[in-house]
């Protein structure tokens, strides 16, 4: 008589174990180091500005910090980071042929995907948070121009960065499980769709993510030129809802596709 076999491991417990393995493989990699260096560019720039301040600084330290967060992080760098890590969530394991180890364990594909996505979020936030905080400290704290700036803005900005990384990461994770080569479509989306359409007049920006993401940074200084002329801004609540919804829907779709897909991994 055969003994009753244990069931598939509970989703959350299994996801935590997948997370533990994935974070160890994701965080200490060279690419994380290079991404951190790129993210730290504003910190270096801020230090140079403090050491060699220009005579007539046209912006306050707080305004400059706002510009860095809005333009450098939220608009450009974080979506690229999300494309780098998010699209590689499962395809990395496929390329390295280690996905088989996860698929032949008593864990559901849902827990594998959740664990990997959690590892992605923790990795990118680990890289982003110190850089944003240091940028804030270097540019705002202790400067006469920084007077009136509160830590609440920093916390809100970190939350905006987290939501940006969550949404774009989920979207590119969906791209990664759907397409064999997600890089070019991802770049076209970021540089053509999000880069141009977000600055069109009318309702076109409603169909971009970057318009909602940059709406979360309320204290950013005005941009110059056409970008400011045509930029559309949304309320915080609306932006959080749209970004959150896109992220959740992308994650659900990505999980569904991953659960059904077969991976032919051979030597």
């Amino acid at each position: 008589m055969e003994t009753e076999r244990p069931a598939t491991r509970p989703t959350w417990a299994a996801a935590q174990d997948v997370f533990a393995i994935s974070i160890e493989r994701m965080l200490p990699r060279p690419r994380s180091f290079w991404v951190f260096l790129l993210m730290a560019m504003p910190v270096v720039f801020g230090i140079l500005l403090r050491i060699y301040p220009p005579r007539d600084l046209p912006l306050t330290g707080f305004e400059l910090y706002g510009m860095v967060v809005a333009l450098f992080f939220v608009r450009n760098l974080l979506p690229l980071v999300a494309l780098l890590f998010g699209s590689a969530l499962i395809s990395d394991a496929v390329d390295s042929k280690t996905l088989t180890y996860f698929l032949t364990r008593p864990v559901s594909r849902l827990s594998i995907f959740i664990g990997e996505f959690m590892a992605y979020l923790v990795t990118v936030m680990t890289l982003t948070v110190p850089c944003v905080v240091l940028t804030y400290i270097v540019l705002s704290v202790g400067t006469p121009q920084g007077a009136g700036f509160g830590a609440t803005h920093l916390v809100q900005d970190l939350a905006a960065c987290a939501l940006t990384l969550f949404t774009y990461g989920a979207l590119f994770a969906l791209l990664g499980v759907s397409l064999k080569k997600p890089l070019i479509p991802g770049l076209l989306f970021l540089f053509v769709w999000e880069g141009f359409v977000a600055n069109f007049p009318g309702d076109a920006p409603n169909y971009t993510l970057t318009a909602y993401a940059r709406s979360l940074i309320r204290h950013r200084p005005a941009e110059e030129g056409l970008a400011e002329l045509f930029s559309k801004f949304f309320g915080v609540g609306e932006s959080v809802f749209v970004l959150g919804s896109v992220g959740v829907i992308s994650l659900v779709l990505a999980t569904w596709i991953f659960s059904r897909r077969e991976y032919v991994i051979s030597s």
């Binding site: 055969e2 076999r5 244990p6 390295s96 088989t100 077969e262 051979s266 030597s267």
Partner: protein
Amino acid sequence: MTARVVFEKASRWYGPVMALNDVSFELGPGVYGLLGPNGAGKSSLLKLASGQLRPSQGSVRLLGRPAFGSPDVFHSVGLCSDTDALFEDFTGLQFVMALLSLNGFDRATSEKLAIEAIETVDLKDAMHRKVGGYSKGMRQRIKLAQSLAHKPEVLFLDEPLTGMDPQNRKRISDLMKRLGDEGRTVLVSTHILHELEQVTQRVLLIHNGRVLAEGNLREIRDLLDRHPRSVRLQARDPRGLARELVGLPDLVSLNMEDATGHLVAEIRKPDAFFSRVQELAAVHGVQEMWVTDENLESVFSYLVSK
């Protein structure tokens, strides 16, 4: 016998390419060899059996459940795949422990089981070294360790002896036999024919996506009664012996090798032939007699050529 792995009219194709065609078999406890040339469908069969792919037609059941989409069966299933892929930055111990954690073992138990498995494959000295620095044989052994560590009922081993030195090949072959004796189901895919014969007599011969033959090697051979057996005889008086044997009704052909003086006979009914040779042994000084094609290679070659 409770079948643990059941293929029922299973087929699998990749686009227009048929990798596996209408395959049916059952595996219970014991060691089974999966033999076939490159492109025969061995890897596809193992992938179907281990639930990585679903069959295009038919069914594949593993421990009573559909192999694809039933992660719960992997509490009792282990896979050592042929791909040379590991978590390169992990140490050997960390690698096996990490995969054990996915089976639900706590840290202390994972460590205990991992060390046990690593000792089984003789890698204890290197278990604290990063896997990225392992030699080919060591990489193969640590892959084997992760497949055994959770003491599975069913083991799929794809080319497990690749890259191993003779000592470790013997060790792993003995391990496979031991696992079979313990009542586990072990399906081994390999090209190393003579080592497969030392591990098991139960084979699945596969070619062009079809199972050509399945069962005990000797039984398969007996079934091939249309194909004559080849017997080699060494005697003091080979010509005299040949004169006696040539009149036997089941003799297909008889040759004498110039170089060795041996007689090579092709016969249909070996039992009758052996009885006759025994009667003639003393008169013509028969010193040695052996069947030359009752091995995996010749059986397979014959089946493939048909």
